[in-house]
Point group: C2
Amino acid sequence: MAVRHYTLDFSLSTAVDSASTVSGLMSIFHEQELTETVHDTNGHGYLATFVGKNGRVAILRVHSHGLVTIDLQCYEEDNIAQLDNLLNALEKKLKVLLNGNITRIKKLPAIVRGANVDRYWPTADGRLIEYDIDRVVYEEDSAYQNIKILHSQQYGNILVLDGDVNLAESDFAYTQAITGNGKENYAGKEVLILGGGDGGILAELVKQKPKMITMKVIDGCKMYMRKTCGNILDNLKGDCYQIFIEDCVPLLKKYVQEGRTFDYVINDLTAIPISTAPEEDSTWEFLRLILDLSIQVLHPSGNGNGSHYANLTEALSLYEDQLEKLSCPVGFCKEVVCVPSYLEQWVFYTAWKK
Amino acid sequence: MAVRHYTLDFSLSTAVDSASTVSGLMSIFHEQELTETVHDTNGHGYLATFVGKNGRVAILRVHSHGLVTIDLQCYEEDNIAQLDNLLNALEKKLKVLLNGNITRIKKLPAIVRGANVDRYWPTADGRLIEYDIDRVVYEEDSAYQNIKILHSQQYGNILVLDGDVNLAESDFAYTQAITGNGKENYAGKEVLILGGGDGGILAELVKQKPKMITMKVIDGCKMYMRKTCGNILDNLKGDCYQIFIEDCVPLLKKYVQEGRTFDYVINDLTAIPISTAPEEDSTWEFLRLILDLSIQVLHPSGNGNGSHYANLTEALSLYEDQLEKLSCPVGFCKEVVCVPSYLEQWVFYTAWKK
């Protein structure tokens, strides 16, 4: 049984007398059978809690510097129309009481707390985002991460790894960008994909008949991300590809030792790669290790190393710092791409041996 | 002085004894000098309000059906690290107290209420979205609407009309889609743009040398949306365009009377067009009026009538109902497009006389 949490805020140009504001609202709360407790705030304005029937709770604060905030919580199956009426009545009355002093009225969409289906998945830069998710399609804990596939009306099935939106069926733009937007020719080439567990890159590249190796398939994608992967994950081995289900770091180290090289290394790991080794506890250290191993297995005449990062100025500059610290000098370029389900701009890097 | 509002929710597989849960948390609240008031909820679980120094307020609810919610409010300039510690301590303690019974822990990014710069702009389908907006560039009330231009780090300047995100400098995909994605040839054609006040469509189409008319320039865009409009709005009249600053309905009616036709009519009005005439009070009626007038001024051999709508199944079906009710039979097709700053998929319609 989820809780709906409404907020209604009035920003004011000057401080207000809380006594007259509060007394003007009391009749509305009382009509709805809400009983108040007024709290002592030690001089930080007026604060009252109102408790009503069916578990309804309201909180009214008149902040001393010119802000009125109202919180209203009720259960999902409560009479929502009645609560809308209550909020509208409070808004209407406050408009009259604070007339001429209002700089902004803000009523956010209700936040639903404790629902069976969680719709709130923040962006990589920590902003609050509500998705139009209506059901959980798949959920498992693998040895590496928590895997969820959630259905959205507009994005199709969305793969969420450890709480990060990874890829949705709407996101062909991601696969296009990370494979070079059609500017690369993979025919007959040796390609290494790090990550790529949703099968999108693999499904796209096999059309060009390369020799290919990939690691770590994510269970569930084969069944529930078919618009992304097609039937490519149905077999772990095909004419021009082979899927290894193992940690990428030991495999990369083995390739370095063997002197094996690739024409393309596509880094499709999560924005913050997961380390399974305790000694690599710093995220940036671990990211650099992967970048370094990747550049080592990249053929000198090879065309690049696709990678990606969220559009955070600070994170991008830290990422570029790592590129400068690799065991051989690299050049790089980057591109900003809009991936539909990400709800933030994404940056794709291509790097090469100088 | 804005308020930061934190939430921390534990969803549980079964109901819990509130007494033991609450008593396990009390020492944490008391350490932070928060003083509790326990409320009578008429059998709807445990509810306590905690008031502390500097205007801090916390609300703890142990719902009887297996959900624990915590709200924590403080002022923006409070010691945020201290509040993070408090939340982390509560989370850690609850993990121990509710061990084995937890199905989800959810801590949303703090909601900032009453800030000078408002970052919360819901989507057309009413979802809560926080943008990375860092300043207000322009704000005015015109005769038609409230106009804001807000700066986002990733989208550039964003035009917001009556609270709806209209277009950002990142959104060339919008201009491309509404002009037919390069499939139309505007050279020498008569084009009518309804809306288009940001100048983006105009700036794009003049490159093809059509004869063109547009209405309603939005003040501020000329100065602050230059990545979108270039210098096209600096003059109201050019070699192949003319800008009328007036209501589009009377102008369309005049064109119908005169029998004037256009090769293209591009409908770039807001998703919910604004009626200035009181008799047209139903949104869908008014939308149909505009569609009907548009189709009437469209040349029979003319190529279409670009229009757009948010990706709401119900709204799209209502929109298509309107297309069936026009004064002449029309055909239509549609396309889903990702416009970066919208944070929802958008649908573009092309309609023509059958």
